[in-house]
């Protein structure tokens, strides 16, 4: 175990629990009711929120709560091989995963019969796109003035062989000895994990360690989001 720890070096020289450079910004899409951009390393996610707005077809209206609709889209030029622009199986599934991760976040019962639409576009993909998408969506929902319980943090933990690391890049995901991907979405105030996926092999001890590391990082990401939201209005005051 110790041997392998020394032998494995992360390609970009990061520490095991260090994430790539993060920058986030709210209010990037003028036409949307709320929007945000979330950049982590070479991954860029843009989220736009429309609504709460009227929901059609009418049979989908729920008199007790709003319907949250999420669309995840990997742009065709975001990956090195051109991605066909039609929504793939993966895109549709990720839309559902993100929807489930976010539905605990919003006070859906305050908007009966209405719809809230979240569109997530990945303009540059270098692993961890669903996590970047969830962070961007959380920011965009707050920017749209929708009633929420809190902000959500999301990060991909994982393992390279036996070594537990955070925020894998595409290069690391293709690690020949086997890389594990463990995307986590965490709501710090409620202490809830709203999405957790596992792709690959990991020992139970490694899983627990990865989960702990991921949760701690999610808390930091939420702090970054808070700053990004506030900075827009503090600037406005000085004008």
């Amino acid at each position: 175990m110790n041997q392998s720890k020394k032998a494995v070096k992360r390609p970009d020289g990061r520490k095991v629990d260090e994430i790539r450079k993060v920058s986030c910004k709210a209010g990037v899409v003028k036409n949307a009711d709320g929007s945000a951009e979330f950049i982590i390393g070479n991954t860029t996610a843009i989220a736009a929120v429309y609504g709460p707005r009227e929901l059609y077809p009418k049979f989908k209206q729920d008199p007790s709560r709003a319907l949250l609709r999420c669309k995840y889209n990997l742009m065709s030029f975001s990956v090195s091989d051109r991605k066909r622009p039609a929504p793939s199986r993966r895109d549709i599934e990720l839309g559902l995963v993100i929807k489930n991760a976010l539905s605990q976040l919003i006070f859906l019962e305050k908007y009966p019969k209405l719809a809230i639409d979240v569109f997530i576009e990945i303009s540059q993909a270098d692993a961890g796109t669903r996590c970047a998408g969830i962070c961007a969506a959380s920011l965009a929902l707050a920017d749209a003035g929708i009633q929420m319980r809190e902000l959500a943090g999301s990060i991909a933990a994982g393992a390279l062989g036996d070594l537990v690391v955070l925020d894998l890049t595409k290069e690391e995901e293709d690690y020949p000895e086997g890389a594990t991907d463990l995307p986590i979405t965490y709501l710090p105030k409620q202490g809830l994990i709203t999405s957790l996926q596992l792709d690959g092999d990991i020992s139970f001890a490694g899983f627990k360690k990865a989960l702990k590391m991921g949760i701690n990082k999610c808390k930091e990401l939420v702090k970054l989001q808070e700053e990004a939201l506030k900075i827009n209005y503090l600037k406005g005051d000085k004008k």
Partner: protein, 235 residues
């Protein structure tokens, strides 16, 4: 855990941020209680009124509340009711019995006589049910059909600023420009003046207030601006 209000009044908070701890405080609009804590559920400014905590939102759609005064457009006329677009996610309903105090026999009268499609009305929200059924009323004398004038929209969250504290801003606008001015809680503004240029000056002023809503001492500043614009017009 120390009890009391944690954030300062008028500071920017984000959803999930704790505003106060303890059962001595009441959660108002834009906040929620989780155990002992009162947290913000909106992005906005904290408003503390004794022990009632509220969030003044910075963005967001208009969600109707009871007793709101709104300006709406008639979308459809039914047998005994109107469908009204009030700039909210769902449209509102106005029933004949809430529209007028006069006796109306709906079998004999065409209710288009009162309001027809594309008419603008000033009305009061009398009922908002849990499933977003919104009912309006124009029974009171203040509420009416808006026949002529200028109509435009502003952001619904900026409406309280355009009205001002106890109507200080709106009264100043009416006095300075000599126009009739109604601002609906839903962000629709109606202006009627004797001259077209008065209406345009008022519109300019309202839009200026909307853009500079966060500034202090805006009432006096806008007063000066209106005087300046009036001088330019008369030249």
């Amino acid at each position: 855990m120390n009890k009391g209000i944690i954030t300062e009044s008028r500071s920017v908070v984000v959803p999930g941020e704790t505003i106060a701890i303890g059962m001595n405080y009441l959660p108002g609009d834009g906040t929620y209680r989780e155990g002992e804590e009162i947290r913000a559920s909106l992005l906005g400014l904290v408003d503390i009124r004794e022990n009632l905590l509220k969030i003044i939102p910075l963005k967001g759609a208009y969600i109707p509340k009871r007793d709101d005064n709104v300006i709406g457009r008639i979308k459809d006329v039914g047998y005994s009711a109107w469908e009204v677009d009030i700039n909210a996610p769902v449209s509102a309903n106005l029933l004949v019995q809430d529209a007028t105090i006069a006796y109306v026999n709906i079998n004999r009268t065409d209710i288009r006589r009162f309001f027809d499609i594309d008419d603008y009305i000033y009305a009061k929200v009398v009922k908002v049910s849990k499933s977003m059924y919104i009912q309006l009323s124009t029974k009171d004398r203040d509420y009416k059909k808006l026949n002529i004038g200028l109509i435009f929209k502003i952001k619904p969250v900026k409406v309280p600023r355009v009205i001002g504290k106890k109507g200080s801003m709106i009264n100043m606008l009416i006095d300075e420009t000599g126009t009739e001015l109604i601002i609906g809680q839903n962000g629709v503004v109606w202006i009627k003046g004797n001259k077209r240029k008065d209406e345009l000056i008022t519109m300019k002023a309202v839009k200026y207030i909307e853009e500079h809503a966060h500034e202090r001492g805006l009432t006096d500043k806008v007063k000066e601006l209106i005087k300046g614009w009036k001088k330019d017009e008369s030249k």
